[in-house]
Symmetry: none
Subunit: 201 residues, 2 copies
Amino acid sequence: MQLDKVVAYHKALADPTRIKMLIMLAGGELNGQTLAEKLGVSPATVTHHAAKLREASLINERREKNTIYFCLNDYFIKSNANAAEKLIYRNAEREGGENAMEESNKRLKDSVIRNFFTSDGRLKHIPVQLKKKLIVLQHLADQLAKGQTYTEKEINAFIKRFHDDFATIRREFIMHQLMYREKDVYELNPPELWAKWETLS
Amino acid sequence: MQLDKVVAYHKALADPTRIKMLIMLAGGELNGQTLAEKLGVSPATVTHHAAKLREASLINERREKNTIYFCLNDYFIKSNANAAEKLIYRNAEREGGENAMEESNKRLKDSVIRNFFTSDGRLKHIPVQLKKKLIVLQHLADQLAKGQTYTEKEINAFIKRFHDDFATIRREFIMHQLMYREKDVYELNPPELWAKWETLS
DNA sequence: CATCTAATTAGATATTCATTAAATAAGCTA
DNA sequence: TAGCTTATTTAATGAATATCTAATTAGATG
């Protein structure tokens, strides 16, 4: 996603009236006049803000006779909540130089993987120490396909190849943001979003 | 209302120069003049934008001699990417009247608190099941003052009144977004930002 | 067609905000 | 101390924008 789009998206959400509109629309579709009343502004103002929200793909419209009903574009809101974050960290990799810590982390990672996995690749047990647990989780996540979506069953089956307690590991995937779940569909998050031990404790 | 915070957060990200600054900072810390050069703006402009980003807790600063290095507040960026989304959907529930789930959740909450806390209010042990763990954490957080800031020591002392493993609980507070930490200052997040079990598993 | 309703546009105003140059402050060094 | 570097504040300017009223459009219905 381009810088312009990210800025436009955040501009759209950078106004109290528009946020209130979205909150109201989350309760169900509404037409312009009703919104105007509820918000205590003129219909013209609602039109103005609706245009902004539409440009940012945050709402959709449906016409019925004379009246136009607005509703949330649920999908877009969810899928763009992290837009800025993604842009920031993705571009950073390009800029960023490797520092010394990288090296030491790499060594730790190797040692954890050697110690917690058997020679045939199964996980002996889940590390208690957060830092090591994250390494293990990330090692598992690395073996899932990017962009691919999975059902819960598929995820369970995948994890069971490594460890019997698939429920715990599946939950930790979500908790540490290695994966993201919507309804019953699981998908890998990009590594930039993964919880990092440096920032935690 | 916490609406202000969400708006402020998005305002901070609603400017191309600020997004560029964040991208650059994601590559490592930089001082004002370097940023000004890279961005092609005056130092005064950088100061201006840095102030906005600081207000929104998106960056931190470190002073060395007379030069100030800015860096990303990684944690805050990650934990607030969904701020608007959460606010929108959370408030929608309120508008749409209480649903049946509310009732059942309330009962669960009562039972968890009865079962995991002793009669004098200490926590017997930390629940393993996420849903119950969140209830316990939220029950603890409810006993902290809103808006008040705490040092790490104070937080530790507070938690120790309930359970000896203050380090784990303190970490879980942050992990599940009940609190937010900047440098050494801890503060309660508004409940809208708290992790919700309905959305997890 | 005449009329009603809902939504949009146009024009006007006030506010917010990004930007800069110039002045000031804060901290270091010789 | 004087002098250097970096950052912040101030005041000014121009651009963007939130909001209103009044006029206009679009669609439906008599």
